[in-house]
Structure formats: structure tokens, C-alpha cells
Amino acid sequence: MNKTLIIIPAYNEEDSIAKVIKEVQVAATLHDVVVIDDGSQDSTGKITQFMGVNTISHPINLGAGAAIQTGLIYACQNNYDIAVVVDGDGQHDPKEIPKLVDTLKERNLDVVIGSRFGGRAEYRTPLARRLGMHIFSLITLLLSKAKINDITSGFRAFNKKAIKYLINEFPLDFPDAELIILLVFSGFKIKEIPVNIRPRLNGTSMYSALRSFYYPLKVAISIFAVLLRKVLSRKYKAVQGE
């Protein structure tokens, strides 16, 4: 049987983390769970430790990408075959974890993304964000021929090959469109499946009003950086030739 790790990155999620962990433990009883407390200033880390959940605490806030990367490093060091990332804010329905894992195994994929589109959705994405997602989805399609509608989804399952690759390459700031393009250009097989995405239980999204101006510019420059590194480098040609 494949050894699977559920990675829950969390930053200041004291109001939602206990509920998320309980749901994960019910939905994925056979899998191990690790919470990455990304330097929270509230009681997130204390709550998870009190619940007896394996917790890795960053001494400082390193950002969402680094928190997921820490989980992937832990998965690699402890020889896990599959890693599933579930956000600590409660947006990802843990009942969908088996669906992601099964799709990854049955279709022999490297990465499976849980999409808010195409399935039942308890949460309606704001219009501005939906527009941004469609634009970056289109850019991703044009550049990498990967048809991913929910470009910002952090609900993902990775196999061992993808875990090993991403422990050094995981994008640190807004790890979404950039990650997909990076993986496709590096020859990984990605598929998007519809899942239930819920509203946040508490707190505010990282895609807040102020960041919404910075986000598209950052993602655009990140995509450009991936293209520079991959398309123009010999490494890309070598990977493609494999």
C-alpha cells in the first residue's frame, strides 16, 4: 500500500485548524498528517500539538510556498509515496482527499489538482478573482498546453517523483500558475478533477484587496522566469528528451 502524507500548511488559523484536523482524521484514517505551522502568532501550533498531531513549526513566517515545501521535504525524508496538501483554513473538503489520491494512482499521474469548477461548489468565487483565474488559466494553456481551470487551487496531490522534484523547485510566493507551468515544462503529468471547495471558516484570504494588485504582476513575472529558466535552458531540452 502507498504511504500517504496529508500536509496542512497553517498560518494564524486557530479558529479553523482543529475542525480541519478532525475532518482530515475522519476522511483519511489510514494516512499520516503533518501540520506546518508557518510561524503563527496565535495558538495554531499549540492547538495542533495539544491534539497530538505531528506539527512542524517554522521559527518565523516563511510564506505559503515555503510551508508546503517544508511538508514536501518531510514527506521525502520519511519516504512517503504520495503527499496531499490541504489548506488549514477549511476551504478544502477533506472528504475529497481519497478522490485525489485514487485519481493519482489509477491514472498514473504525477500531480492531481482539486478544482472548484465542474463540481458542486459551496463557495462562489468573487468575480474579479474568477476573471484573473481565467486569464492565467488561458496563459497556462497557451504556454504549456495544460488545461487547468482552477489555477489558484492549493488542493493538490503529488506522487513521489513530483515530491522529489519540488523539494528544491517549489515556487515560494503565490505558488499556483507558476507551479503548473514549471511542472508541465519539466515533463510531469497533471490532471484537474472537480472537488468541493468551501468558504473559509475564519480569517482572511491571502488574495486580499491590496495583494490583488501585486498578485497578477508577481504571477506574470514568475511565469516569465519559468520560461527563461526552462525554455531557454539546456536542462529543459534534456528533460524533454528523456
Binding site: 505531528n54 517554522h58 515555503a66 517544508t70 518531510y74 515560494l172
Partner: protein, 120 residues
């Protein structure tokens, strides 16, 4: 360039040099970075004192006045320094992230061993 302008530039450059040496003495600036600043300040002083050289550079750059050529050179140096420090900050940020990740995973392993020992 007037004598007054020359005097102001040289005095300012010397003040910068003294400040840089003071930072070096207090170990708030590395030897490598001091060397960069030293090259910049000494270059500015040489060009200010040696007028024929500055006039040649003025012709080379196509600027209207020697002082503009000096400004252009100074600005180019500062831009290069900014790029160098941006690169340094990125490298240091990545090193800090790697260290923090390593420490947190290591602490997690130590805590697990300690907890097992306490249970026995």
C-alpha cells in the same frame, strides 16, 4: 567644473569614505563591501581632481557638461551596487528559508525522540 563644485564633491566623497571606514571598524560592513565603496569614492575623487580625464569621458558619453558625465558615472555605480545587493538579499533570504526549514524539521524529530523517551 568650478573650484567650489570640486570642493563640495571631494568633501562629500571624503565624508562617505570616513563613514564607510567607521562601519568597517564597527564590523557593520564587510571588507568586500567596503572595497566596492572604496572603488566608487576614489573614482569620483580622481575624476573630480583630474579634469582632462573627466572632459574625455564627457566627450565619450556625449553629455553636455563634465559634471553630467560624473553624475552619470556615479548613478551607474549606485545602480550596479543596488543590483548586487538585490542579488545578495535574494541569496540570503533563500539561505534563511532553508535554515528555518531545516531547524523546524530537526526540532520536530528531536521532540518526537524526547516524547518517546518520556513515555518509557
Amino acid at each position: 567644473m568650478s573650484f567650489k563644485a570640486q570642493l563640495i564633491i571631494i568633501v562629500f566623497a571624503l565624508l562617505v569614505l570616513i563613514f564607510v571606514f567607521e562601519l568597517l571598524k564597527r564590523k557593520k560592513m564587510s571588507e568586500a563591501t567596503t572595497l566596492w565603496w572604496l572603488v566608487i569614492v576614489i573614482s569620483i575623487i580622481i575624476l573630480t581632481v583630474h579634469q582632462p580625464l573627466l572632459i574625455e569621458i564627457n566627450k565619450l558619453f556625449g553629455t553636455n557638461y563634465p559634471i553630467s558625465a560624473l553624475m552619470l558615472l556615479g548613478l551607474s555605480f549606485v545602480l550596479l551596487m543596488l543590483i548586487y545587493f538585490s542579488m545578495k538579499i535574494t541569496v540570503l533570504s533563500n539561505q534563511l528559508k532553508d535554515t528555518a526549514q531545516y531547524v523546524s524539521i530537526f526540532k520536530n524529530e528531536v521532540d518526537k525522540i524526547t516524547n518517546k523517551g518520556n513515555q518509557k
